[in-house]
Amino acid sequence: MTNPILMESRDFSLAYGKKWAIQHITLPIYQNLITAIIGPSGCGKSTYIRAFNRMNELLAKTNHEGQITLKGKDIYAADIDLVSLRTQVGMVFQKPNPFPKSIAENIKFGPKIHGEKSKSALTDLVEHYLKKVALWEEVKDKLDQSAFSLSGGQQQRLCIARALSVKPDVLLMDEPCSALDPIATLKIEDLMRELEKEITIIIVTHNMQQAARISDYTAFFNTDESRIGELIEFGITKNIFTNPKHKQTTDYITGRFG
């Protein structure tokens, strides 16, 4: 695996107010590969993934140290335009969150905001991205219906299509399958394998089998309460799961953590 590094976390720490949620994390994100972040609840993995498109700042006042870079440029630098950053680094959330609009409007939403006016181009985009997430055949006859009429798994695929519609380089997925049934989960996983050819994916997951199945690299966050938000081990997924270097990792992936 010799893919170039697209994003990189360099000794990155982030605090809400004065409380550090993640500390001194250094790891590379390789282009066109899937990087999984695993670890127990409360270990800071959701905070960490939201640091890649600076979503944490929406909720509360945050402080950070270190850097996260995108194509070599620090995304926390003063001259960074958040709008352009979030266009390049898209996100899919834990709970499917389609907008209260029609299926088609959900896809058109991003491109419209970013200046696409042509009706026919927008219609083409709807088909293109719905096909990309393998939803087209299921919804092509009801594009004008509310996105809420879809099942949870379909909604999540719609949200992935919506995130793709602004052509991001990186897709952040924060436990995208935790609210879905196993069949819907498998569909999303297949989809991620397809998307990997065109886009770089970072996924947070509770489900270790999922990380093992789909990711190329895995980052394991600590289980120890005294070291909140620290990275224990990072490496090629196969190595992490078959030959972990740290005892904590071994314990966690074999289900003996704590």
Partner: protein, 286 residues
């Protein structure tokens, strides 16, 4: 024991809740019934379209209705934009700290301040300090202040109830804060905001105390739409007709009809609000 006691408690609770509802419903029916029953014979189309005549013992309430609608319009022009904008600022832009919480609390409390206090404030500020005089502008602005806290509180509530996932999703697509608000938050909050706006406006429309010192007149021979002229208003007319008139028993019909018109206007506003809400919600589901 508990299996015996349970059904009794269930029945008592049901009786209490149902009884309360029944009592409230009865009061409502009685109020509406008495008012409309007593306005029979007076309330008619010509009552709505005529000027009062013969020392206000005959004729209609046309200029009085116009006055009420006019002063309510002035108050709405002032309070709706300021109220909604303030709510948007407080909920979306202002940081949540001790100051904003204090301001929010103060706004809530303002909603409970007796309306006569607003009247005095209006007299001191608009009539005297700003030297507008007793006129429809002073009265409208005073009523606007009265409805501001209701509009702000309800609009903020509506904005707060928009699921945060709509915001997150939109931010993650690279929208600016204003785009997120305009495209994803405000459209969802509009029904709630409208409800607050209508509540605030209809409260202002029915108030007497705030306009008492600031611009309302008992009787004006001519209707003027100048901002600096005085005006007649339904609630004040009702007050005069039922307590201050030289022939109170003779104008009972007029008093009750005025009350009926006030109720119908309020009801009309609320029906409009419901229609708008309904249209919006329908639009969003498709």
């Amino acid at each position: 024991m508990s299996s015996l006691r349970k059904p009794i408690i269930e029945k008592l609770t049901y009786g209490l809740l149902g009884g309360s509802f029944g009592l409230v419903f009865l009061c409502l029916v009685l109020i509406l019934g008495i008012i409309f029953y007593n306005s029979v014979g007076t309330l008619s189309l010509s009552f709505l379209l005529q000027n009062p005549t013969d020392g206000m013992t005959k004729g209609g309430i046309f200029p009085i209705m116009v006055g009420t609608i006019y002063v309510t319009l002035i108050s709405a022009i002032m309070s709706v934009p300021f109220g909604v904008f303030t709510a948007i600022y407080l909920n979306e832009y202002a940081s949540d700290n001790a100051y904003t919480r204090l301001i929010r609390l103060s706004i809530r409390n303002l909603a409970a301040v007796p309306s006569i206090v607003y009247g005095l404030f209006g007299l001191a500020i608009f009539v005297k300090a700003l030297n507008f005089g007793t006129c429809v502008l002073s009265a409208g602005l005073t009523l606007g202040l009265l409805s501001l806290p209701v509009i702000i509180a309800a609009s903020e509530e509506a904005l707060r109830n928009v699921p945060s996932s709509y915001r997150d999703g939109a931010f993650a697509l690279g929208l600016t804060q204003w785009q997120v608000l305009r495209k994803n938050v405000i459209p969802v909050a509009i029904p709630g905001i409208l409800t607050g706006v209508i509540l605030g406006i209809s409260r202002a429309m029915g108030e007497t105390a705030p306009i008492l010192f600031t611009g309302v007149a008992f009787f004006l021979p001519e209707t003027s739409l100048s901002l600096s002229s005085q005006f007649m208003a339904l609630p004040y007319h009702l007050y005069i007709m039922s307590t201050q008139h030289h022939d109170i028993d003779g104008v009972r019909g007029i008093a009750y009809s005025t009350a009926a018109v006030l109720i119908i206007l309020s009801l009309g506003l609320n029906i409009i609000a419901s229609l708008i809400r309904y249209t919006y919600q329908k639009g969003q589901q498709t």
